[in-house]
């Protein structure tokens, strides 16, 4: 599958101010480090629930989410935590969520990457069912269009989720209404253990865009700038009333579907090839060094910032109390005011 994408060398003259580029590097390294540390904690039995590794796909996630403005909205899946962090989620609260604490974005009601912060940064609180947020993105985009808001909705799902009927309904509907929405498919080669060719019988997902009447492009998820530029184009087009677009960003899921999965089904050679040549983090770091945007010292400094952020997040999470048992039945109806008042913090920190 993915290997047929030629690696496009990063543009000689840089497409973005150096601070933005450095910020990309920070996000890429944060994502990678977070992913590795969380997996270690999971293996040690120190992390409850599930983890869905985005390793190897950081270029896709940072690239697409960076193309959004603050007022734009993001509708991700379980795999897209890096995109959510890029859109502005606070790592501390993200980690509190993983540990089921009251300071997580869902107040302990959901775990792992089933997270979002609509009021804060317009990220939809992720649900498992695939791709259940796609139709919701249609509604947000329609609201922008109706109000002339010049805002854009972006939804992400995986290669496997494209086999689901909701994917079709959403793309079709968005084309009929020419909605300001960008459909992203994070094609990481597998749906759990299922390879692309058991999910669809065409070489690329991008080419399906034509059958809806929208532009589609396939990019290399190993190259964050290529992803960013394609996403930027699609976002600008949507914002200017040009309607929806489809972006297929190709990478490989380096780890198993979730923390427990050894992913024996992933061809070793394929994995090696991706890790050796298409590592979005290392590739971009080397590019910035080559371009003189950052020095070795800067990189070390960034890495140190990343590790500090993680450690602070970890501390914050474990120090945050569990929700109060008595609050379990609150917050289902708007009128009980649970979500507009301070939640109880009496759940202790040692439960479970």
């Amino acid at each position: 599958m993915a290997t047929d994408v030629k690696k496009s060398a990063p543009a000689g003259d840089r497409p973005l101010p150096d601070e933005r580029l450095t910020e990309f590097l920070y996000l890429l390294k944060l994502a990678r480090y977070f992913d590795e540390r969380m997996e270690a904690l999971y293996r040690q039995g120190r992390l409850p629930g599930a983890i869905y590794s985005g390793r190897g796909q950081e270029g896709t996630h940072v690239g697409v989410a960076s193309a959004l403005e603050e007022q734009d909205s993001l509708f991700p899946t379980h795999r897209d935590l890096t995109a959510q962090l890029t859109k502005g989620l606070d790592l501390k609260r993200v980690m509190a969520q993983f540990w089921g604490r009251i300071d997580g974005y869902t107040r302990g009601r959901d775990g792992n990457s089933h997270i979002g912060d609509w009021a804060g940064n317009r990220t939809f609180t992720v649900m498992s069912h695939l791709p259940i947020a796609y139709p919701v993105a249609v509604g947000a985009a329609w609201a922008y269009q109706r109000r002339g808001d010049r805002r854009v909705a972006m939804a992400i799902c995986g290669d496997g989720a494209t086999s689901n009927g909701r994917w079709h309904e959403s793309l079709n509907w968005s084309a009929v209404f020419r909605l300001p929405v960008v459909w992203v498919v994070n094609n990481n080669g597998f749906a759990y253990s299922t390879p692309n060719d058991r999910e669809f019988a065409v070489p690329t997902i991008a080419e399906r865009a034509a059958s809806y009447g929208m532009p589609g492009v396939r990019v290399d998820g190993g190259d964050v700038l290529e992803v960013y530029q394609a996403a930027r184009e699609a976002v600008d087009r949507a914002r200017d009333g040009g309607g929806p677009s489809l972006i297929e960003s190709v990478s490989l899921r380096w780890r198993g579907h979730a923390g427990h999965d050894p992913a024996k089904y992933t061809p070793e050679q394929l994995l090696e090839e991706f890790m050796a040549n298409r590592d979005p983090v290392r590739n971009f770091e080397e590019y910035l060094l080559a371009q003189g945007v950052v020095t070795k010292e800067d990189v070390d400094e960034i890495q140190a910032r990343v590790e500090r952020a993680f450690d602070e997040g970890y501390e914050y999470a474990l120090a945050s109390p569990f929700p109060e048992p008595g609050d379990a039945t609150k917050g289902n109806w708007v009128e009980d005011g649970y979500w507009t008042s301070e939640p109880g913090r009496g759940g202790g920190t040692e439960a479970g």
């Binding site: 259940i132 919701v136 249609v138 909701r166």
Partner: protein
């Protein structure tokens, strides 16, 4: 009504909304259909965030003509014809509600709510509890049988959606209640499922208030008829059958109280229990299926919370969990009839 008229009306009720929606009578009476249209019209006039979406609701005015004339008045931005994609009709409602709009989505028949089931029960019903984001979404559509429309145009889906837990479920039986409850639904900040029984649409007329702020509160049952011997707890089209039975029973000196739930979720337990305390006997009547239906819940509540007051078993009258059959002989055998209700009440009053 003459037989011919009856046929025509039946056709109309079966979704064959050829006839225009119609108007109030001189003396201000409105059908259920008109009352529902008025509620939508008034709420759209009141709040420009309110908009309608659904299949064929614009130029055509909807399969039952509920939205006839709305497109001309409110334009295509607020009366949106959609593709045949129920999952996305719900998703569109959720997403636009998240951005501050107040969608009212029409399902051409409540039967097709099953085609949007996942977005309704997974997204719409559960999102607020997990995120704190209010979702002021109304889903509405024609439900119910008795109109010879067979299995796919006669369903009563309220048990499925009442079970979901995050959606209020309304099943009015009268035009005024329909209007007042639908207006409350549109103003509610939570998801609401509003089921319009198609048998009632053009059959039941009454005086309906015209004040723009006439509201019926969600979650309040109504004692439609006072009585001392036996309580019938019911809702929707069956309320009319219950009242018919109560009249007949009165001839035989059985005094029947009829409680119209109006809202099935959240359930007004208090009104139900107060009635049982008085009569000590309960018939729970529903057009929705018996097994794990609304009637099961009402019976369970009575059995748990009114046990001390019960002088007789809590009897359910409801159809089997089977596809609603087409043939008149079968549908009549399938649906609770007035005679079934009378028999159940008499059995209890004789207890």
């Amino acid at each position: 009504m003459t037989a011919a008229k009856a046929k025509a009306v039946e056709a109309g009720a079966a979704g064959h909304g050829a006839e225009p929606r119609g108007k109030r009578t001189e003396d201000g009476q409105a059908t259920y259909l008109i009352a529902i249209a008025e509620a939508l019209w008034e709420e759209m006039e009141r709040d420009e965030r309110v908009y309608l979406l659904g299949e064929d609701i614009g130029d055509y005015g909807g399969a039952f003509k509920v939205t006839e004339g709305f497109l001309d008045r409110f334009g295509p931005d607020r009366v949106v014809d959609t593709p045949i994609a129920e999952e996305t009709i719900v998703g569109m409602s959720v997403g636009s509600a998240m951005e501050g709009l107040r969608p009212v989505a029409e399902f051409q028949y409540a039967d097709f709510m099953s085609s949007g089931f996942d977005e309704i029960t997974t997204v719409l019903s559960r999102y607020h509890y997990r995120s704190g984001v209010p979702l002021p979404v109304v889903l509405r559509g024609p439900s119910g049988g008795g109109v010879r429309a067979s299995s796919f145009h006669s369903i009563n889906p309220e048990p499925w959606f009442a079970h979901a837990g995050g959606i209020k479920v309304l099943c009015p039986a009268f035009p005024a209640d329909a209007k007042g409850l639908l207006k409350s639904a549109v103003r509610d900040d939570n998801p609401v499922l509003f089921l319009e029984h198609k048998w009632i649409y053009r059959r039941i007329k009454e005086q309906v208030p015209e004040e723009p702020d006439f509201l019926i509160p969600i979650g309040q049952a109504n004692v439609r008829r006072e009585g001392d011997d036996v309580t019938i707890v019911t809702y929707g089209a069956m309320v009319h059958k219950a009242l018919e039975a109560a009249d007949a029973l009165a001839q035989r000196d059985v005094s029947t109280e009829v409680v119209d739930l109006r809202t099935v979720y959240p359930l007004d337990e208090e009104t139900v229990l107060r009635s049982i305390e008085k009569t000590s006997r309960a018939v729970v009547l529903s057009e929705s299926y018996r097994f794990v239906g609304i009637g099961a819940e009402v019976s369970a509540v009575i059995a748990e919370k009114a046990f001390e007051h019960l002088d007789a078993p809590v009897v359910r009258v409801s159809p089997p969990n089977l596809p609603v059959p087409f043939s008149p002989t079968l549908e009549d055998a399938f649906l609770p009839q007035v005679s079934d209700i009378e028999a159940a009440v008499e059995r209890l009053s004789a207890w």
